[in-house]
């Protein structure tokens, strides 16, 4: 059980660009250095996003960005810890996830990346890379606590394998 130490994430360059930051981290891990601005421009088919990124500051489904850069594997709900281990340890692939915030005004989401997994004191743990600017870049969280939402403010709801 281990960590994919060469997976790194930048903070999201615009308020709503968690999807671009996660896609960029995946691209970089597989050796394709690119920018969030380029990913947004290509995904939205709008070259203007690179020169005026603020005009493209909105959320977008992660799977479409991953598909655009050719890194989308599969989309599922919450993966079991064994499945997370398979992605990280056996396949050496980070796992993108959705965290959903369901507040009184409605639902919003946030994308993060799991880059590691381990068992500490008998409890399964994951290492989460979070592009949100107000958090530290890397967090260690118990698998069950990530699933339940007690830590992030909302539960893990979707998973995106990458290739």
């Amino acid at each position: 059980m281990g960590e994919l130490n060469s997976v790194v994430i930048q903070h999201q360059h615009q308020d709503q660009w968690c999807w671009a930051a996660v896609t960029q981290a995946v691209c970089q891990y597989f050796g394709n250095v690119t920018t969030q601005e380029d990913i947004v421009s290509r995904t939205l088919n709008n070259p203007g996003c690179a020169s005026a990124p603020g005009s493209c500051d909105f959320p977008f489904p992660l799977r479409f960005a991953l598909q655009t850069v050719g890194r989308f594997g599969d989309q599922n709900g919450v993966l079991t810890f064994a499945d997370v281990q398979q992605q990280i340890d056996s396949l050496a692939r980070p796992l993108a996830i959705t965290v959903s915030f369901n507040g009184p005004l409605g639902e919003t989401s946030h994308y993060c990346l799991i880059k590691g997994c381990s068992t500490v004191g008998g409890l399964p743990q994951v290492t989460v890379l979070d592009p949100a600017p107000e958090n530290g870049a890397e967090s260690r969280i118990a698998y069950d606590d990530l699933c339940s939402g007690v830590i992030m403010g909302g539960p893990w709801t979707e998973s995106f394998t990458v290739k």
């Binding site: 709503q16 639902e107 500490v120 870049a137």
Partner: protein, 202 residues
């Protein structure tokens, strides 16, 4: 009266020290020093009369800082749930500057007219965080934290300004996500790329 002293309940302190010992191979548990412990509050869109209300927010956990054996600062959050503590340990980006900023703010000459307790206030849906100085006589002051790749800075706003801004931003973000989830590109399966722009007008 100045700022209230910072302290953790014994159970939370012990849980955080144990967590650090397990994850950082730190010094023996009881000697792990925790810095700047304070309450953590979370806003997810709760409203009253069309505005967020600070006074309605329940505390969700505790936050403090610690040094690992390698000397790096980590920020540790502890959330009490069903009699146990769940933890999140932040490392990396700007944790040193985070600590320095909090210390700097606490030294300001603005605490003369009330007794204040320091809290961290997060609104995860809009990626916002702030230091909330809750005054015993209601003179709450908010220091919003502005993050970028290399630094963290902040600015003072009133509690009313925060309540208005965060409520408006959360409503807008909910609308943006509603639009995003309505995006259904038609030819993804065949071309591997979306062929429609998001139905968002700005």
């Amino acid at each position: 009266m100045p700022l209230d002293p910072l302290a953790l309940p014994v159970a939370a302190k012990s849980a955080i020290q144990t967590h650090l010992w397990q994850h950082c191979a730190a010094v023996p548990t009881s000697r792990t020093r925790l810095f700047l412990p304070h309450r953590l509050y979370r806003y997810l869109g709760e409203q009253r009369d069309g505005k967020a209300r600070l006074g309605d927010l329940p505390p969700t956990g505790w936050r403090c800082l610690a040094r690992t054996t390698e000397g790096a600062f980590v920020v540790v959050d502890a959330f009490e749930t069903q009699g146990k503590f769940a933890h999140r340990m932040h490392s990396g980006r700007n944790t040193e500057k985070w600590a320095a900023l909090i210390r700097s703010v606490r030294r300001k000459d603005r605490w003369a007219n009330d007794s204040y307790s320091m809290r961290t206030l997060v609104a995860p849906a809009i990626y916002s965080s702030a230091l909330w100085f809750a005054g015993a006589r209601g003179n709450d002051q908010i220091f919003t934290l502005d993050w970028n790749a290399d630094d963290v800075a902040g600015s003072w706003i009133s509690a009313t300004e925060w309540e208005t801004a965060v409520s408006s931003a959360t409503s807008r973000t909910v609308e943006l996500w509603r639009n995003a989830k309505a995006v259904v590109p038609t030819s993804l399966a065949s071309t591997g790329a979306p062929d429609s722009k998001p139905p968002i007008s700005r």
